[in-house]
Symmetry: D4
Subunit: 152 residues, 8 copies
């Protein structure tokens, strides 16, 4: 049963989130990838986010470019922690998505990470930190990774 739900708005964003999935896998975190658009398929986003906790998901990761409403839309329908990854897919190359994801209004937080692949990877590591608060196996895997960084 997946612990982390990774959501992108379009199949074309899949290569940009690949690094996230690889990190999750490397840490032994089960995840699922869904293609749901805040703007094109808002019902699906609503249904997905509303049902996420019951389905056992504990962290959601939404990646989007441009107006990048996806992470905030997920957050609007759930009280699970939502991580947002700004993607550099528009002509403004991610500064727009950074603003649209980081500048959430009070009450509905999104955890924004860096634009693009840096953020895709860190979304997974942040998910590991969050899951690691109650999942000893994930904590140990992430700490081993961090230990490895220190020795690299």
């Amino acid at each position: 049963m997946p612990q982390v739900g990774v959501v992108i708005g379009s199949r074309t964003d899949e290569p940009l989130i690949k690094a996230c999935l690889e990190v999750l896998q490397s840490l032994g975190i089960e995840y699922e990838l869904s293609v749901l658009s805040a703007h094109r398929t808002p019902e699906r986003v609503m249904e997905y986010a509303r049902g996420a906790r019951e389905r056992g998901l504990q962290v959601l990761i939404g990646a989007a470019g441009g107006a990048a409403a996806l992470p905030g839309a997920l957050a609007s329908w759930t009280t699970l922690p939502v991580i947002g990854v700004p993607l550099p897919t528009s002509e403004l190359k991610g500064v727009d998505a950074l603003h649209a994801i980081a500048q959430m209004p009070p009450g509905i937080p999104v955890a924004c990470v860096a634009v693009g692949e840096w953020g895709a990877r860190n979304a997974a590591y942040l998910a590991a930190e969050i899951l690691g608060l109650k999942d000893e196996k994930v904590r140990q895997a992430y700490e081993a990774y961090r230990q490895g960084l220190r020795q690299a």
Copy 2:
């Protein structure tokens, strides 16, 4: 029966949209003002936007600051034209809202106008131009306004 639905996410944004309402009124356009938040009350946004056309609304205006998802959220639930007004309510003073509103992904358009009061007023004038395509009274009122500008 209102032709234009003006939506803000919070009562605190009301003074910022006042100029919009005054312009609508000056042009004889019937409107309604609603407080609905894309992030805090997404169901209400969904219900409002989904029912808008049937209730006779023809143009929606959404004003928001920061991540400013409101206009795009309205647009995701309706095929009526949606005008978005970026508000300078966050610490980034509207450049964030401009990005979040203008940079909508293909398929779900929002008509973005200027940040703040300039945009609040122009949202109403743009609504008048749109309504004026089928409502002769509105067209004449707007053309009279434009004529007045030329003679000021």
Copy 3:
């Protein structure tokens, strides 16, 4: 008889607006493409925009990069709704055109969409939403497209 007038300032911008034309065509909206520059051929812009309504045009779309005065110039000469598409053709890659198009002064609105191809496509969809208020065929075509998005 075209319903939508698409205007670019230079032949070199034509590839950037191609997606707009394709969307218009796919929705059965008749359009015409004109090359008129706000700065190099202001008379032509004036004549085009002034005569647009009488010729039956209902929506104008202007696409421009850099100082990007074209949409605003069209708007200054007509009371038809004008949609502006910022193009990333200058060295500043469209942030300049976004500012020049979105930040119109009160009284003369332009409906700004996203920079580049995203905006080119959304300009057409926005035109469809506007036309759809009185043209049932266009409304149905656009709603079918939106329905298709939801099922993709």
Copy 4:
């Protein structure tokens, strides 16, 4: 025993983080506030972050302006989730801090929220979402808050 450690770099930043503390308190989350500077007192940051997990802290919140290294410095010394609040205290009014906090390199994530008070409050709500994964009381308090938002 505090669950959340809130860290600011200077006493002068305390008013800017007050809203965060109020939200934590309103949700019944125990917290502590520390004044530690990534640049002026790096040892203290190191000691604080290194000992945080053992002392029972589960989430760290770091708020900083300008180069805003504090959240990243905390994250470098711990594997607990760290939330970063960009403050508008420099002459660049927070766009610098947003960049310095959001753009963390791969491996050491920070969860960035909005600049200023919006972010201060959302840092607390995000902490509640994270804690709520294992602390039923916090989850219920946060869900009651969200329910309240929906009914406001």
Copy 5:
């Protein structure tokens, strides 16, 4: 007979251009001030700029904020040198006007100066430099000013 035509789009911009007029006067340059809007009164801009050379004007100065089309509109209708002053009148505080004035497309130049009062004053000094190429009195007045700067 005025040598320099100073144009603003709105009476409300008059205080922002006052420093320009004072400098022109201090250098003994005759000028006229007109209120003409690129967007609200495009005919007047056209007539003004088209007739400027015949009326003896040698340099035009246009000051505008936001989309700031005025200097470019003047330039589109004349081959006199046009100086553009970006004004900080919109919520984006002049960065928009800077882009809209500086980023003119090839063929129709505008001489952009600094945002706000700095630019208002420098527009006058730049006009003096241009006029000074053929008007010995203006050249001497400006050189006296520059000499004064060196001795201040």
Copy 6:
């Protein structure tokens, strides 16, 4: 005897200013190209600018990237009109040079044009407009060019 002095700070910038030289030539304006750096060879810039008027030059054009001090340095040593072309040669791609050239302090104006090739060409056209105030041949050549634009 050249009328226009074009100055770049480095041989590597020569391709970026080529369009400027071509326009000058096409309009029959005599020019000279010099390589002088505001930072690396300030004496030469001083000598060049100080002697420019006596040598018969009437307009100076300085093109530079990054901190882009060259146009302002030329202006500090002469009372001839100086046109500045921001080049996209640094990693910030010209937004830095735009700021460094446009934001000149009161008293020492520089006429800033667009970043890169657009500006390189417009610097030449602006020079033609300035020279055309006293040189009928240049004025006619430029007006013929503008006439050609209108008919293209």
Copy 7:
């Protein structure tokens, strides 16, 4: 005999550099304050910077806003280390000066510090670090200050 030469371009900038002077004084560093403008009095900048080393100065600090050429101009005439403080005096509030000071071309370095008072103070501390390499008294004073920060 002063060790540090602090230079501003205008008396009006004096309050903005006051914090710098106070820090220098508190560390027992002798300094002098000069008002010299890169653009208005370039000869004086040249003479000052050229003679600086012989007069015993070891570090120069230049503070400027807008195009902010002063630090780079000082650097162009000397091989002493030059520290640049971007001031928020233009309408763009220092982002322009940051670009103009930080983005120096290869060969002529300037040590850029933060915009405004933060930078004014850090310019003095950076000067202390540089002087401290050979001046034991300054080194000890600065280390005492840093020690004090750690214990505050």
Copy 8:
């Protein structure tokens, strides 16, 4: 024994700092290159910076992209002068690193240079200027370089 310690956060940044090393070598300045990450290996940064003065290092150069905490982290642990080079390695292409390095808080200065290769080279030249205050050989080598620039 090296005089300058160059530090990068990752092997992948090595090509970006190569120009710095070449300049140091060309000026006869001994240096060492270390790979230490402010976020991934903070202990090593601490140990390196703390021991730097005793090991005879006199200037540190830290190069980093994105959140770019490395130069500030070095500075937090030493009172040697630290030069920071913003690298364009993130999707925001260095504007983030420029903010994160230049906007250091009062008390802990970093000498920021330009983004990318320009800055990499200038970091070395700035180090030469600093070292040249007490090392006659370095001063002469740098002055010979500057003399060469003047004659190029």
